[in-house]
Subunit: 312 residues, 4 copies
């Protein structure tokens, strides 16, 4: 485990510690090297990245910061380990092609036994799992724009000390950020969504929520034609998925926090000239949006049960 | 003041108490009649509606519940008082036509010296002030849908004891409600917006935020043509408005709480086939979205300075 | 499971569902009978208490309201079931003597194989586990008063809809309640503490915290004599306890939520005429303070491993 | 105004801007020099401390950090300005004697027309105003310890970016800090309290609350003798004080935030061997605990009405 001291890293340590088939070999955190970190009821020794024996592990998780992760992924691969990279460095749309994108619900076949997987971003996880059944089946009106307003809990911004993330600044507040289609997750979504349907635009506005964790994406879609059975696309796509929940009521953060699931609802929008749909998708940004999905990918890469060690 | 014990009623009492030209004659709250309510540092006696001498006041504010307000408005009018009705009963789209709609930034001329004004809903205030400059000038693409995702603090739902509004339910949560274009504020917005531009649809999805107060509306618009100066429509419309702020950065709840303002930003959306705009609008739901706007309307109705007694 | 719809009831259902040796036979909730309740990813059918076959279960948990629980406990006993009663009805100081008090860390011997156990209150759990090693060994100055200021998350007050528990009332607030030594948990603590050392007074002031869950008790004790090793009383008493953590740093809610532990620190107070000690004790009010402790007791009553199914 | 960018500094700027008799000459913030800070609806230019013409102002407020303030206070005095120092540098117990301590409710006579005043800390304000009527009149049992458990909102810790103050760390949490009678405000309280009654000890345990602002002090006192009229000491001492509220119910943060008041209740503790009293005291740490009190002191120093510009 490289980069254990961030929010995703800590969550991942906790999942590894209670995973029936995984054992934590080392946990690195360069700034806190030599200290101990409490995870659940356990104390973990933190070491520097240089002190980790990368080859010792069958699989290395990297939750290092974007930019810094890439070189450590390369080192771990050279040392013979499989790697799940939680950073953005190797994801589609970031200049890296051909590396399997770890969204099992979309492309499980490329992940089984893979030596290296790019773990998706939190927003892309919530949004792409929700949109894929529409895009893949040509259900979205051609040349239309899909409007995605999403809100994320604060842990999505990491635990580096920044003034704008202080409790005194975030509490009682709510704001958009990365506006104007400029958020760095947008390109990741465009590449993956564009491969499914290249005729639609994505408009993405993220917001910062005064809650510790959770993402809700509110997605407005113009349909090519009205849907007879509004939930059918998701039932068809995900009926057997252990980590997708199709809901008849709008999902709330409360339904998904601390769980490795995407919870999705869909509902027609009344009173519009063209047929439109409201799709809502909720995840825990630290679980299905990061650490839980990383374990899910590791399970596939190592030939374990996909659900092993994951909180349903 | 009829209906003083709800969140909007209490806020309005506080504003009246420090208004230089208004004096509070009575404060009613049927369930709490005979008790005292603390407002700021003062104690107010609460009486029953039947015990209020409606004719004694030059102007009566009604913050009674929707449905119950209408009859009391009629009684106060009969008693010779001017009335600002904060309920939905007399607003456009609720079966009542011809009653001036108290959004001074849109139609001040109908409010000056008016005997009766329907105070707008909180969401409509944030959204209509933001949209009017686009709609009125034909800047929105014909036959397009405007997507409005809005989030409101909990006081927007009132202070009747309901399980889903308990701290233990709302804290750390976030969810959409009134989904599928079914929220009762939508009709109010459609009527007012439709009078400005009848060729566009509104898609409205409200959300419940775990904060005490504030509304942020995230509005995505398809434009008829790109705008050379993106803020020009708002500067032209509101350059002299005391209660509208045009911002170059996205507004946050923090910028507007406890203040009687609408704070608006606009920004082009990059990478879309058609020209699109992101408009963000923030208000305090209890001030500009209710009590502050009621005082603003009362000021106009009584020939006082429009800004008298209002927190800028 | 009687009384499944409150916060403790829901938490207990979740624990039972993932317990390796327990199976949930029924979940009652009279007001919501006929509806389904989501617990984690599962849906539970709620039935009325009258529809539950009490004899069908080896052990019945009652999380019914105080006052209402007693009669159902009697019925379940008559039907031949063992019972853990989470209400206050059968606890010491409430007029019921001789029923084993379910604080295993104090009196495990009375709980093993017991047919009926009164599950302690949340405040008493945090406070009595912290105080017992001092009281039992005569370490507290005779005739002194122990000052206990405690703060609890909102779920401690239950989920009945009350105005003072609305998000709009609790958020950003903090207050004492049940002041003047009047809280109903005080008698329970006095009886149990008095049996260990009858020469000291308890002064108890609870506070309402704007957090969903967790209790922190801040306890100030005047000592009979200075302690050479300040943590020794707790180490001696609880060195082998699976659910007690002795900490060298003050415990925080964050350390204990979602876990079945009491976390305790102790530290001398400098600059006082007489030797004084600060003891801090933290629990999750819904886990070690209610549902988790109920499972711990059930494990003992049924001869299972005491830690079975409990989140460490 | 020196040090305008911290929480207290910003609050003080806001108060100065709406004060009828004060005018803001400059606002310094060394790290943000050259930028603008939004205060309410206004934009303030921030300059470096070196760029401020200290002699230009009749009175200088310093909200500079502890340690750094002292030298700037000296410079401002040399330049001929009166000074209110909000830092701890010149307060009693910090090695500075003879400088008037700006708690008007205790010693107004030393503040009128004073050239330099040390503005009290937030905790000492809440606690000393509450305790003075007991201490001054010998009502506390000799050789007893007064137990003070206090909880403060996060702005009390300032707005420097520290990891432990991030929203993701503070939300849903509650913890004691500065435990064992080690908090730096304790000495300030001991000196001032000791001058009123030298026979009692203070035991002080502060806690960090997940709220933006407000302090509640829970004070347990052993009395020399029972009080016939429990509120009489405070009524006698503060009956005419504009900024002290004596309450019959326990005060809550909600009662005092955004207001320049100390709100105090007192109540006997039942069931103890010796007569004991529970005193609760609440303030807004940024108003009566910092900026509001600074203005109150400035009003006295400048011969203005003591209540001028202060939110009751």
């Amino acid at each position: 485990m490289l980069g254990a001291s961030g929010y995703a890293g800590r969550e991942l340590c906790a999942l590894i510690l209670r995973h029936p088939n995984l054992e934590l070999q080392f946990a690195t955190a360069n700034e806190q090297r030599g200290t101990r970190m409490r995870v659940g009821g356990r104390e973990l020794d933190l070491v520097g990245s240089d002190d980790a024996n990368l080859g010792e592990a069958d699989l290395v998780f990297s939750a290092l910061p974007h930019g810094a992760s890439k070189q450590w992924v390369a080192r771990a691969r050279e040392a013979g380990s499989r790697v799940v990279d939680l950073s953005a460095d190797l994801r589609p749309g970031n200049g890296c092609d051909g590396i399997p994108y770890g969204l099992p619900e979309l492309s499980r076949e490329h992940l089984v036994d893979a030596p290296l997987v790019a773990n998706p971003g939190c927003y892309p996880t919530a949004i792409l799992v929700a949109l894929a059944p529409l895009l893949r089946n040509g259900l979205v009106a051609a040349d239309s724009a899909i409007t995605i307003d999403a809100a994320s809990g604060v842990t999505g911004a990491g635990n580096s000390p920044k003034r704008e993330l202080l409790f005194g600044e975030v509490a009682d507040d709510y704001r958009a950020y990365g506006t104007g289609n400029t958020h760095r997750h947008l390109n990741e979504m465009r590449v993956v969504a564009g491969a499914l349907d290249s005729s639609v635009d994505l408009v993405f506005t993220p917001h910062l929520l005064p809650v510790p964790r959770g993402i809700l994406a509110t997605i407005t879609v113009t349909l090519a034609a009205p849907l007879a059975d509004v939930l059918a696309p998701w039932r068809d796509a995900y009926g057997n998925e252990p980590f997708v929940e199709i809901a008849t009521e709008p999902p709330a953060l409360r339904d998904v926090v601390h769980r490795n699931v995407v919870r999705i609802s869909a509902q027609p929008l009344s009173g519009t000239r063209r047929p439109m749909l409201l799709v809502l998708s909720a995840i825990d940004n630290l679980v299905k949006g990061a650490a839980g999905q990383a374990v899910q990918n590791a399970n596939l890469m190592l030939g374990l049960s996909e659900t092993a060690g994951l909180p349903l």
